[in-house]
Structure formats: structure tokens, C-alpha cells
């Protein structure tokens, strides 16, 4: 829990410092920035778990900053904080993938709760990403022939039909199949299917 960093961007020093005071009271680490440029210069996606952003700032506005992070393909939950929220602004922020949109002055309960949720989501995402990386690594370790066999196995073909398809003996298919199961660390066919599916799912998503 203590490894989680919350970034706060607000041009008002009092708001910035008081937010740090508030958020640190629940044991989170806080880094503050007075403007978007400063954040972009010190941005470290691995470190940050949640970004609290004021809309109205000189220079890069909160919404612009959110858009820029999105363009950088940074997947961190962003909580937009604003003095006078209006619907189009909220829609714009949500469309750009904001995690939440909170109006000032807000209740500390709400803000801290949303920050916790954002951090959980970020954790979940980062874990999932690690798992996917692991699966992709396993798939990368397969030989081209093993990949071919895996595709057919997952596609529901029997060893016999695979052998026919690839023009090799059933024995050879069995050897390939054994190798790829151990390389993919799959105990059963259904587990293999799940691994392949989750990997293709995220690949498509990206």
C-alpha cells in the first residue's frame, strides 16, 4: 500500500499543499506539481498510481494534460477536480477516459475513496499487464512449428488431423504438443485455451 504514489497537479499552492496533507493522512505517498509541463517532465508511469488534476490551470489545462497523457498511451487513472463543473467539460473528461470528475469543494471522504478505487484499478491493470507479459513471453519461447501446432490444438483439432494437416506423423505432433504444453506451463487443454485467449484478448485490445 505504501508504494502507491498519488500525483497532484494544481496551480494553487494552498490547494496543492492541503491535498498532500489530506492524502498523506491515509498513508499514501504524494507528489505535487504546479502545472502540466512540470508533470510531463517528471512523468514516470511505473511509479504513479493515480493522478489528481485541476481543470483550470494556466498553461496546459487539466483536460489538455489528460489528452496528452492519453496520447502518450499512459494508462493511469485520472481524477479531474474542478471549481465549476459543467456537463460538456465532464463529458469531455470522461470521453478522454477520466476515472472520475469531482467538483470543488469536495468531501474528503469522497475524494479519498475515489483515490483508493483508482489505485486498486491501477494495481489490477498493472498485475494483468504483468500476467499478459508472462504469457506473451511463454508464447515467444515456442518454435514456429510449436506455435503452428498450438494454433491447431486450440482450434479444437485432434492429433491425427493435425498430423494430416502438417504432413507429419502423429508421434511428431505428440512430441510438439508435449513440448508446447510444458513451455506454456499449461496443465490441461482448457488451461492452454484460457492462456491463449487472454493473450489474444489483450493484444487485440492494444
Amino acid at each position: 500500500m505504501t508504494d502507491h504514489n498519488v500525483y497532484v497537479v494544481d496551480d494553487d499552492q494552498a490547494v496543492r499543499d492541503s491535498l498532500r496533507w489530506l492524502i498523506e493522512s491515509v498513508g499514501l505517498k504524494v507528489k505535487t506539481f504546479s502545472n502540466g509541463q512540470e508533470l510531463l517532465e517528471n512523468f514516470n508511469e511505473a511509479e504513479i498510481s493515480c493522478l489528481v488534476l485541476d481543470v483550470r490551470m494556466p498553461g496546459i489545462s487539466g483536460l489538455d494534460l489528460q489528452q496528452r497523457l492519453k496520447n502518450m498511451n499512459a494508462k493511469i487513472p485520472v481524477i479531474i477536480v474542478t471549481g465549476h463543473a459543467d456537463v460538456p467539460m465532464a463529458i469531455q473528461a470522461m470521453k478522454a477516459g477520466a476515472f472520475d470528475f469531482i467538483e470543488k469543494p469536495y468531501s474528503d471522504q469522497l475524494l479519498l475513496e475515489r483515490i483508493q478505487c483508482a489505485i486498486e484499478q491501477d494495481d489490477c491493470f498493472k498485475k494483468q499487464q504483468a500476467v499478459n507479459n508472462e504469457i506473451n513471453e511463454r508464447i515467444d519461447s515456442l518454435t514456429p512449428r510449436e506455435k503452428e501446432v498450438m494454433g491447431l490444438v486450440v482450434g479444437g483439432h485432434s492429433n491425427k488431423s493435425i498430423a494430416k494437416e502438417l504432413g507429419v506423423s502423429i508421434k511428431t505432433v505428440e512430441v510438439h504438443r508435449g513440448n508446447l504444453m510444458s513451455k506454456m506451463k499449461a496443465q490441461s487443454l482448457s488451461e492452454l485455451v484460457r492462456l491463449v485467449m487472454s493473450s489474444t484478448h489483450t493484444t487485440n485490445k492494444e
Binding site: 492541503s18 496533507w21 489530506l22 498523506e24 493522512s25 471549481g83 470543488k104 474528503d108
Partner: protein
């Protein structure tokens, strides 16, 4: 010769550049190697040799640069390499053209035998019984590697030439395959080509690699030499040289030569390069001989002297001679023409001299008559002069008086246009100037206030009266000076029956007097007067009276200007106040944001404190600090509210009956600077039959200013010539309708109603409150404000104000 000169020149031009490059490359030495079997092969064969050189020679790193024949020439010409390792033909070419010097010759190893010379082999298929000697090649197809390849073609060419065959004329087909030479062997083997030539050892090498069998080929013009057991058809030529280029450092070349000569024949570098190392450089004159007899390479120029060649080579000189001849001819023609023209001119000059002589004698006669006339005229002029002198005396007197008045005028101008004097200072200066000009003892400026006169400014050599003295009007001659009175000028007051009674004059002993009314905006403001104890001897001149009028008019004008400026300032202040009220709404939203900041901070601080305090080990000093911060934020909020209160000043708007067209004109005048700077053309379409309407003038002006400003701002991107705003006023359905048309960007799509919302703005600056406030004002007047898209681009903003509505003043 020309080419040599050019190359030398080029080398000189490139010299400093390449020298620097050499230093920059950190003593990197590049060896250009002819890649006759492809770049990879060349690198494989020679890289170890380069490494060997790098190891043996301190401070230099040698690298191999594989080159084709053309790129080799290019590299040498541009000084891209320091050494070359190439075939003898290429070397001789470079030696002759660019001044290369061989430093070693390669000992080529072929089947456990080292050769320092090589040859070419001309061959055909074994089963070609029709081709047995070189002469038989006439009319056959032939293949070589490259026209410029020495072992690959030129050696064979010389042999063919000896056999009276010109390969370019007498063969049925001459093909150049390019490297590697193996292609030629395959082409002959397959029968595609009748015969071919390759470097010696190519056949043996291919046979040892198993690619061909020597028995399948027949060698033409075969030579035999015990020291050179390889198949060959030509004489022997020295092997590949390692050469330094002209620019390459001699000491470095020496070190390289020593290193090459001392290279171990069994070393890996030698083995890989298929050699037994290097030997002292051989004589390359046989190669030169080949080139000479073939008239190729550096000897390309040596040829029989033909007419065409002379033309081609000396065309510059020939052209020069022809141009010179033409020029000479031209000059001769020009000279003879000029000569002829000179003769003609001489004749006409002679004629002219004759005519001149005649004219001169005529002139002499005229001169005599003229002399007599002059005497007569001189007498007449003397008479006239006398009259003139009398005239001048009279004029001088007039001039003196003019000078005086001009001087006075100058002084007046200086005073009135001075930037350093105050208005009062200027009046004093004017009074003093008047005293001097009119010969008076005092000057005064008096103001009428409540039937009395007050001395505003006084200037004089005696204190006749003090400033701010009140004078009784009836005791004066005021009755004689009305609004449109002429200036009064009295030489002697004692002679005036009325003024004799006047206490002022009797008491002060003033006898000479001048006075004039000062009129401001059509009403009598006061008087300007001058007086003197002595009587004036002569009557006041018209100039004096004019001067007096000038001074009074200037003072009147200046007072009027001051008054109107004050009223304009007041109007401006009124407007600013409405703008302030108008921005109240805008301020309210700004206030909300500004207050939100400290409130948010306070909430954060206190909540943070509460959370920490509810924990066991609360860090008390930190909490106290946070509470301090919280307090100062609360003070910041209070400060914001105080600032806001100062801005708001309660005042109830007033309604009066106003002429709407007049309001429009006033607004146009107010916005004029912006209209001008944006080059906008304002067109008025004002109906003249609109009754006065009961409105708050300032507020309606504010609305119109808003609409005009918006219209002008909307046309920022409109071409200057099309920027036009139409203001229309008319009566429609018991109300007055005002329309403002612009040619701007129009309304944002589907947002016709949004434009009146607070915070709506298409401008980067501004909060988007203008139209929202305008609508509140118009609605408070029971009218309506609308926006619509103009068909031909732009927008129309219009508002209505009800006619004859008896406005109730207790409206908010």
C-alpha cells in the same frame, strides 16, 4: 593536358579539406580494394591484412573499402582513401592520372606456388573445332568481364590486336559480364558465347572448386613459361600492386611498405588473402605498353591527328580566332563610316561659320540702336525711383506696426500652444502680453457669478485690485457690455459721460480702458479688461481690437473645451459603473472559483487534521502547522469577499425618455477607435420617425456597445474590404427594433440560444458574460434580445424596446 591541369587544380582545392578529415578520423587509414569478386569477398580477403597493418604500425587504424572500378576512381579523385590495392591496369590508370606510387606487389599463391605476375587466358569450348587460333574469333561472339578490366579484357584485346582483330568491330558480339569472372566461364561452357577471356588461374581455381572441368575448354594462343605453369594466352604482367596515393604521407607509406614486405607468408592474413605476402614493387611498364598500344586509359588522347579531333580539341582557340577576325572586320567598317561622317560634318560646319559671320554684322547694327534706347530709358527710371523712395518711407511705417502685431501674435501662439503652462498660467501670460501690446497698466479676467463680478486673474504693475475681489456689477459698465457686445475701447474715461460716474475709474484713476465679453457655450461667462492711468493719445487701431478679440475667444474656447471634457469624463464614469455592475455577474462566477480555492484548502487541511488526530500517534507539531495554514486560507477567503464588496456600489438605474438614434450615434462615437483600428465600415439605416422611448440610457448604451464589440470581434477573420456592420432602427409592432448585422463567422452551429448563457464564449479572452448581461438589461426593459444566422454569412443580433411604456422606476 587540360585534364591533368584540372585534376591538379581539384586536388589543390580539396587538399585542406581532406587533410582535416584525416585528423578528424583519428588516424583512420582507408585502403580502397578493387572488389573484382564482390564486396563481401574483398572484405573477407583483405580485412586481416588491414588488421595486420593496424597491429604493426602504431597510431593508425587501417580499414578496407571495397570499390568497383568507377567508385575507385571517384574515391581517389575525392581523396576518400589513402591507399589502393587494385589490378595493374587500374593502378596504371590512377598512377598516370592522379599520381599514385606502388609500394609493394602481391605474391599470389596458387596451388602452393606464389606468383608475382599474371596473365589472361582466352578460351573456347573444347568441342569448338571451328575455333583454333585467335584469328578464328573474327565474326564470333566473345565475352569479357569489363571493358576496363586489365586481366579481364585488355590483355586479351592486345593479343587480338596483334592478330589484326579489333574486338569492337570484327566480333559478331562483344559482351561484358561484370564481376565475378566465373560467369564468362559458365557462358562459354553452356555455349551461349563462342569464346571468352578471364584472368589466369580462374579456370584452374574453378576446376579445383569442382565447378568446371578444365578438359571442357580449349585455350587459344596458349603460351608456355616454366616459371608460370598456369594456363595463359598472353605475356605476363606484374600482379596487383599496393600503392599509396599522391596525398598520402610518405612516412606512413614507408611504414606500410616495410610492414607488407615483412609479412609472414604463413600468417593468417597472407593465407586468407590467397597470397604469400608481398614483394618489392615490380615494373609496371608492360602495363603501360598495353595501354599505349591500345590507346586506352591514360593514353586515350594519343591518336592520329584528324580534322575532327583538332576541331574538338582546339575548338576554343578556333572560335577565338574567328571572333577576333569578326571583331577586326567590324572595327574597320566602323572606322570608315566614322571617317565619312566626319567629312560631312566638316562641310556643314563650314557653311555654318559663314552664316554666323553675316549674323554678327547684323548684330553690330542693332547694338548701336539699342545704346540710344538705353540712355532714354535710364532717365525715365531715375524719375520713377524718386517716387518709389517716397512710397517706401510710408510703407516702412506700416511694416513696423505689422511687425509689432505679428510679434504679438507669435507670443500669443507660443503661450496658447505651450505644453508646460497651466490654464491659469496661460491666462496670466495673455494678460501680460495684452498690457505690453496695448500699453496698459493692468489686465484682468473677471467672472460673472450671481450678478456679481469676481476677479479671477489679475496682472498689472500696480495692485489695482487683488485676485478674488468681488466687484459690484452695477458699479461697472457691465450694462454696456452684453453677450454680443463689440469690444469696448475708451481713450479717456473722463470724456465719457457715463463712465465718469463709475467709481472704479475715479477711485483708481484709470483713464484708458479696453474690455471684451468672454462667451462660453453661448452664455456670458465674464470679461477680459485692460486699463491704464494715462490716457491713450491715439485711437485704438483695428489690429489692437482684433488682438483683444483673439485673446477673449481663445479663453472662451478653452473654457468650453474643459467643460465638455469634464462632461465626457462623467459619461465615461457612468458607463464604467454600469460595466462594473454588468461584470457583477461575471465577478460572481469568478468569485465562486476564487473562493473555492481557499475553501477547498481549508477543508483539506481540517479533514487531514481530523484524520490524524483520530489516530494514536498524532504528530502534533505537524497538525498545528496545518491548522495555521487553514487559518491563513480562511483569511484569504475573507480578503476576496472584502475586495468584491468594494467593487459593488449600489445605485438605482434611472429611466428617461431618450431618442434611440441619438443613443446609437453616441455609441458609435464611443466605439469609434475600435471601428477604425479594425477597418470596419459602419452603415446606418436609422428610421427618422421613432418616438422617444423610456429607457435607462446608460444600460441601453451598454447593450449596444456589447453588440457592436461582438460584431467587430466576429469579423477578425473577414477580409478587410468586406468588414461592414449595419445598424438598423425602426418601429415594428408597437416597439422599437434595433438590429446589428455583421459579416463575421456567424453563430456556432446549433447554439443560437446558448450564446446568451453565462460563460458561453467563442473568444479566447473574456468570460462570455456580455450577451448574458445584455439580455438581462433588455428583458428588464420588457423587450427581447435575439440572435440569428445571416443568410449570406455573418449574424444578426436584434433587440426590441416597447414603445410608450411608462417605465416604473422602482424596477431593480
Amino acid at each position: 593536358m587540360y585534364r591533368h591541369l584540372l585534376f591538379t587544380l581539384l586536388i589543390f582545392i580539396l587538399l585542406p579539406v581532406s587533410a582535416e578529415e584525416f585528423v578528424d578520423d583519428n588516424k583512420l587509414v582507408k585502403i580502397g580494394v578493387l572488389a573484382h569478386r564482390g564486396n563481401d569477398e574483398a572484405l573477407k580477403q583483405w580485412t586481416l591484412t588491414a588488421n595486420y597493418l593496424s597491429d604493426v604500425i602504431d597510431g593508425y587504424q587501417f580499414i578496407i573499402k571495397p570499390k568497383s572500378l568507377p567508385s575507385m576512381k571517384d574515391a581517389v579523385e575525392n581523396n576518400l582513401i589513402e591507399f589502393i590495392l587494385t589490378n595493374p591496369g587500374n593502378y596504371v590508370d590512377i598512377e598516370a592520372n592522379f599520381g599514385a606510387t606502388r609500394i609493394a606487389t602481391l605474391k599470389v599463391k596458387q596451388r602452393n606456388h606464389a606468383y608475382t605476375s599474371f596473365s589472361a587466358v582466352i578460351f573456347t569450348r573444347y568441342d569448338r573445332h571451328d575455333i583454333n587460333k585467335l584469328e578464328d574469333l573474327r565474326g564470333r561472339s566473345f565475352m569479357a568481364v569489363n571493358k576496363k578490366a586489365f586481366g579481364g579484357f585488355q590483355m586479351a584485346w592486345l593479343e587480338m590486336k596483334k592478330a589484326s582483330i579489333d574486338p569492337f568491330e570484327d566480333l559478331s558480339d562483344l559482351q561484358f559480364s561484370g564481376f565475378p569472372q566465373d560467369n564468362i566461364v559458365y557462358a562459354v561452357e553452356s555455349g551461349r558465347i563462342d569464346a571468352g577471356t578471364v584472368r589466369s588461374d580462374t579456370l584452374e581455381r574453378m576446376a579445383s572448386e569442382g565447378a568446371i572441368s578444365i578438359r571442357d575448354f580449349k585455350i587459344l594462343n596458349q603460351q608456355h613459361n616454366d616459371a608460370f605453369p598456369l594456363l595463359h594466352s598472353t605475356r605476363l604482367y606484374p600482379e596487383w600492386p599496393f600503392a599509396k596515393l599522391k596525398k598520402t604521407n610518405d612516412q606512413l607509406a614507408q611504414k606500410v611498405a616495410i610492414a607488407l614486405l615483412t609479412m609472414d607468408p604463413r600468417s593468417e592474413a597472407a593465407v586468407v588473402s590467397r597470397s604469400e605476402g608481398w614483394t618489392i614493387p615490380l615494373d609496371y611498364t608492360p602495363v603501360h605498353d598495353v595501354f599505349k598500344s591500345l590507346k586506352i586509359g591514360p593514353y586515350e588522347q594519343i591518336d592520329t591527328v584528324t580534322f575532327e579531333r583538332v576541331i574538338e580539341q582546339y575548338s576554343h582557340y578556333i572560335l577565338l580566332v574567328i571572333i577576333t577576325l569578326f571583331a577586326l572586320g567590324g572595327i574597320i567598317i566602323y572606322i570608315s563610316r566614322t571617317n565619312h561622317n566626319l567629312n560631312v560634318t566638316q562641310d556643314s560646319l563650314r557653311n555654318e561659320i559663314e552664316t554666323r559671320r553675316q549674323a554678327q554684322s547684323e548684330l553690330a547694327q542693332h547694338r548701336d540702336t539699342l545704346e540710344q534706347n538705353v540712355i532714354k530709358r535710364t532717365q525715365e527710371l531715375a524719375d520713377l525711383n524718386k517716387e518709389l523712395q517716397e512710397d517706401i518711407i510710408a510703407r516702412k511705417a506700416a511694416e513696423a506696426s505689422l511687425k509689432k502685431s505679428s510679434h504679438t501674435l507669435q507670443t500669443l501662439h507660443e503661450i496658447t500652444s505651450s505644453r508646460h503652462m497651466s490654464f491659469e498660467g496661460k491666462i496670466d501670460a495673455l494678460l501680460r502680453t495684452g498690457c505690453n501690446c496695448f500699453n496698459m497698466d493692468y489686465g484682468a479676467f473677471l467672472q460673472i457669478k450671481d450678478e456679481k463680478l469676481q476677479v479671477i486673474r489679475f496682472v498689472g504693475n500696480k495692485p489695482f485690485f487683488k485676485r478674488k475681489t468681488w466687484l459690484s456689477a452695477d458699479s461697472l459698465f457691465a450694462s454696456r457690455m452684453q453677450l454680443d457686445s463689440d469690444p469696448l475701447a475708451i481713450n479717456d474715461t473722463s470724456q465719457d459721460s457715463e463712465l465718469k460716474q463709475c467709481q472704479q475709474f475715479t477711485k483708481l484713476g484709470i483713464h484708458s480702458y479696453m474690455g471684451i465679453p468672454v462667451v462660453v457655450t453661448g452664455t456670458l461667462y465674464g470679461y477680459l479688461e485692460y486699463g491704464a492711468v494715462s490716457t491713450s493719445s491715439t485711437a485704438r487701431s483695428l489690429i489692437d481690437i482684433d488682438m483683444l478679440q483673439l485673446i477673449s475667444q481663445w479663453i472662451g474656447g478653452e473654457l468650453q473645451r474643459q467643460q465638455s471634457q469634464e462632461s465626457a469624463q462623467k459619461h465615461q464614469a457612468d458607463l464604467a459603473h454600469v460595466a462594473r455592475l454588468g461584470t457583477m455577474g461575471e465577478m460572481a462566477s469568478g468569485l465562486a472559483h476564487e473562493l473555492n480555492q481557499p475553501l477547498t484548502a481549508i477543508v483539506n487541511y481540517t479533514r487531514g487534521c481530523v484524520r490524524r488526530l483520530s489516530m494514536k500517534d498524532a504528530d502534533m507539531p505537524a497538525i498545528v502547522g496545518a491548522m495555521e495554514h487553514s487559518c491563513s486560507e480562511a483569511e484569504r477567503a475573507a480578503e476576496i469577499i472584502r475586495r468584491m464588496r468594494e467593487l459593488v456600489n449600489k445605485e438605482v438605474p434611472r429611466r428617461e425618455f431618450n431618442d434611440i438614434n441619438n443613443i446609437i450615434e453616441v455609441v458609435i462615437r464611443l466605439v469609434q477607435p475600435k471601428i477604425k483600428s479594425n477597418h470596419v465600415n459602419i452603415k446606418r439605416e436609422l428610421s427618422q420617425d421613432i418616438p422617444a422611448i423610456n429607457v435607462d440610457r446608460i444600460q441601453i448604451e451598454q447593450v449596444l456597445i456589447n453588440l457592436l464589440n461582438n460584431a467587430i470581434d466576429a469579423m477578425k477573420n473577414t477580409p478587410v474590404l468586406e468588414r461592414e456592420v449595419i445598424i438598423q432602427s425602426r418601429v415594428k409592432d408597437h416597439s422599437v427594433q434595433i438590429k446589428v448585422f455583421d459579416r463575421g463567422s456567424g453563430l456556432p452551429k446549433n447554439m443560437n440560444s446558448d450564446v446568451f448563457e453565462p460563460f458561453f464564449s467563442t473568444k479566447n479572452e473574456g468570460m462570455g458574460m456580455g450577451l448574458s448581461i445584455s439580455r438581462s438589461i433588455i428583458e428588464a426593459h420588457e423587450g427581447s434580445l435575439n440572435a440569428e444566422q445571416r443568410e449570406l454569412g455573418g449574424s444578426i443580433f436584434s433587440f426590441t424596446l416597447p414603445l410608450g411604456s411608462e417605465g416604473n422606476d422602482d424596477r431593480p
